[in-house]
């Protein structure tokens, strides 16, 4: 596709429910990032993939968060047993492999509300 596509755009989950958020990166982009963004704040890094390899998952807030990118393209962020504090916008970004000054292209995000 022309840009990064995320689905669903909005998700309402009951506390304790599992959710799966999907990201379709720009075709051919090697790098893929997931970020969590609270209202009016900057995005906070969750995890990073280079192709199918998850090189950094230091930002995942708990073991309830899990991300995968099995074929080096589409990625899924899964949250198990959702809690109210998980409510946020989840942003996915992709970028080509490039030295130093990489531009990240962001999707529109998935707004998750846990009730």
């Amino acid at each position: 596709g022309a840009g990064v596509s995320q689905s669903p755009r909005y998700k309402v989950a009951k506390r304790g429910q599992d959710v799966a958020l999907r990201c379709d990166p720009i075709s051919g982009h090697v790098s893929l990032f997931w970020y969590q963004q609270a209202l009016g704040q900057g995005p906070e890094f969750l995890t990073y993939f280079q192709n199918e390899a998850q090189l950094d998952k230091s930002g995942l807030p708990s073991d309830r968060f899990f991300a995968e990118r099995p074929e080096g393209s589409v990625s899924t962020l899964k949250i198990q047993r959702t809690q109210q504090e998980d409510s946020a916008v989840y942003l996915c970004a992709s970028s080509p492999l490039r030295l130093r000054n990489t531009e990240a292209f962001f999707g529109q995000g998935t707004r998750l509300t846990v009730v």
């Binding site: 970020y35 900057g42 990073y48 280079q50 970028s95 492999l97 490039r98 990489t102």
Partner: protein, 114 residues
């Protein structure tokens, strides 16, 4: 934990005024990017600076990277209502010379009143 602090956090100004947004850190970054984000959308890249002391201009926007590559500023001249949005700086941390992990600042919410 945000390593990049932006100031001010909120800014409401009248059309035609000038403004400066600051992005500060105690860490050194290999590159610094500025993004603008509108409600319901993802951040969109405005500029990338990579050299200490570098200044880049994009129409009415002027970006500067600090000499020590720890801080940056964004100056907008004659602000317009279309400049309204959340401005984010993001520092690049290389993975052994490959693509950057971007660490975002705390954000500056700008509202330009007509």
């Amino acid at each position: 934990t945000q390593l990049l602090e932006q100031s001010p956090q909120f800014l409401s100004i009248q059309e035609g005024e000038n403004l400066t947004v600051y992005c500060n850190s105690s860490s050194v970054f290999s590159s610094l990017q500025w993004y603008r984000q509108e409600p319901g959308e993802g951040p969109v890249l405005l500029v990338t600076v990579v050299t200490g002391g570098e200044v880049k201009k994009l129409k009415r926007l002027t970006f500067q990277f600090g000499d020590a590559r720890k801080d940056s500023s964004l100056h907008i001249t004659a602000a317009q209502p279309g400049d309204t949005g959340l401005y984010l700086c993001a520092g690049g941390r290389g993975y052994g010379g490959a693509t950057n992990k971007l660490i975002f600042g705390t954000g500056t919410l700008l509202a330009v009143q007509p």
